[in-house]
């Protein structure tokens, strides 16, 4: 199951995503929560806390600045750019490659 949550700012996308993810986790599903927002706050709603949310953002910025490498595989993304959230949810803050090298 792959679910994306969209809507106007302030409508409750992040809150809805977090509750969905944790509810699915409580029912025994293996859940990955991906924060694709340019201003990622999903960690706060999942309950991983302010400093961990900030840490994931900093990690992503290091990738954006070229100070850290992109993750080559999904497992690697979840491992290196992720954090454990309650109810077994794994959170990862991700970004797309803005200027991929040709070829």
């Amino acid at each position: 199951m792959k679910i994306a949550v969209v809507g106007k700012g302030g409508a409750g996308k992040t809150t809805t995503s977090a509750v969905l993810a944790r509810t699915l986790g409580r029912r025994g599903a293996r859940v990955v929560a991906l924060d694709c927002d340019t201003n990622p706050n999903l960690g706060l709603s999942l309950g991983v806390g302010d400093s961990e949310t900030e840490r994931l953002l900093t990690l992503r910025e290091e990738v954006g600045d070229g100070a850290a490498d992109h993750a080559p595989t999904w497992e690697d993304i979840l491992d290196r750019y992720g954090a454990d959230a309650p109810d077994g949810v794994r959170l990862s803050v991700i970004t797309r490659i803005e200027n991929p090298e040709p070829g």
Binding site: G9, G10, A11, T14, D37, T38, N39, N41, D50
Partner: protein
């Protein structure tokens, strides 16, 4: 009351942009700010760079899709910008023709709404950016509204502003976004002044908590009195539905504060 020559000559015009998390109340406060400044006899141009704009509602302009037509730009010279303003059209003429007329004399410039892919707005966006860049600095006070979050702000869409108002509601998520936005002062286009506005404050402790966490005093505290929410449900401007309400009062105080930052003198302080 009209702008005096001495005012336009002696003091710079206000150039303010509102940023913050989605739903924090940027558009509500920006639109109200623009109208209250205009009521002081000032020429105000409201700028919207949100492709799904909320600003028209708080301005009370009555239309939400008011695009700049694509044909105001033509293909630019080889090696130059992709689009340039059509020969014979300058920034002032575009504002005159295509900025919507709002209550209290505010004019309002947007790209047009994004109903499909972003490509549709390319020409209008180029036109908008060029107008904002080339507009005579003495003709208008600029009051801008950016989309929620940090993306546009970090990419310099508010660089016309020398004052940036960070609107924050007393939630951890909103403060998280605000803290990122406060780093804008270090950006290449960095505004010279950052002003904190606490919105939807339920009591005095809300504003204190936000100020403490962000390390900045609030220039204005807008109470959560329900009028903005009720106006939103009807698509009405808070200034029209609750003209004497606490929101209007708090934003008028914010106008006072910003005016004082520019030393605009008594002419604009009512």
């Amino acid at each position: 009351m009209s702008v005096t020559g001495s005012l336009a000559e002696s003091a710079s015009m206000i150039r303010v942009a509102f940023v913050g998390k989605g739903g924090a109340g940027k558009s509500t406060i920006a639109g109200t700010f623009a109208r209250l400044l205009a009521r002081r006899g000032q020429p105000v141009l409201a700028l919207d760079s949100d492709p799904m704009p909320g600003l028209p509602y708080s301005l009370g302009v009555g239309v939400d899709d008011h695009p700049i037509p694509d044909d105001v730009v033509v293909a630019g010279p080889e090696g130059g910008p992709r689009w340039v303003l059509r020969p014979g059209l300058d920034a002032a003429a575009i504002v005159d023709r295509y900025a919507a007329r709002c209550p209290d004399g505010v004019r309002y410039l947007q790209f047009g709404n994004l109903w499909g892919h972003v490509v549709r707005l390319q020409q209008a966006q180029h036109a908008w950016s060029q107008v904002v860049e080339e507009l005579d600095r003495d003709s208008w006070h600029l009051v801008g509204d950016l989309p929620g979050g940090t993306r546009q702000a970090m990419f310099g869409w508010g660089k016309y502003a020398d004052t940036v108002c960070v609107v924050v509601e007393p939630t951890v998520k909103s403060m998280h976004t605000a803290r990122r936005l406060l780093t804008l002062s270090g950006a290449r286009w960095g505004p010279s002044r950052l002003v904190l506005v606490v919105n939807k404050a339920r009591d005095g402790s809300d504003a204190a908590r936000v100020s403490e966490r962000l390390g900045l005093e609030a220039a204005a505290v807008v109470p959560h009195d329900g009028t903005a929410g009720r106006a939103d449900r009807r698509g009405a401007a808070p200034l029209d539905s609750a003209p004497g309400g606490p929101l209007a009062g708090a934003v008028d105080g914010l106008v006072d504060h910003v005016v004082s930052l520019y030393s605009l003198g008594r002419e604009v302080t009512q």
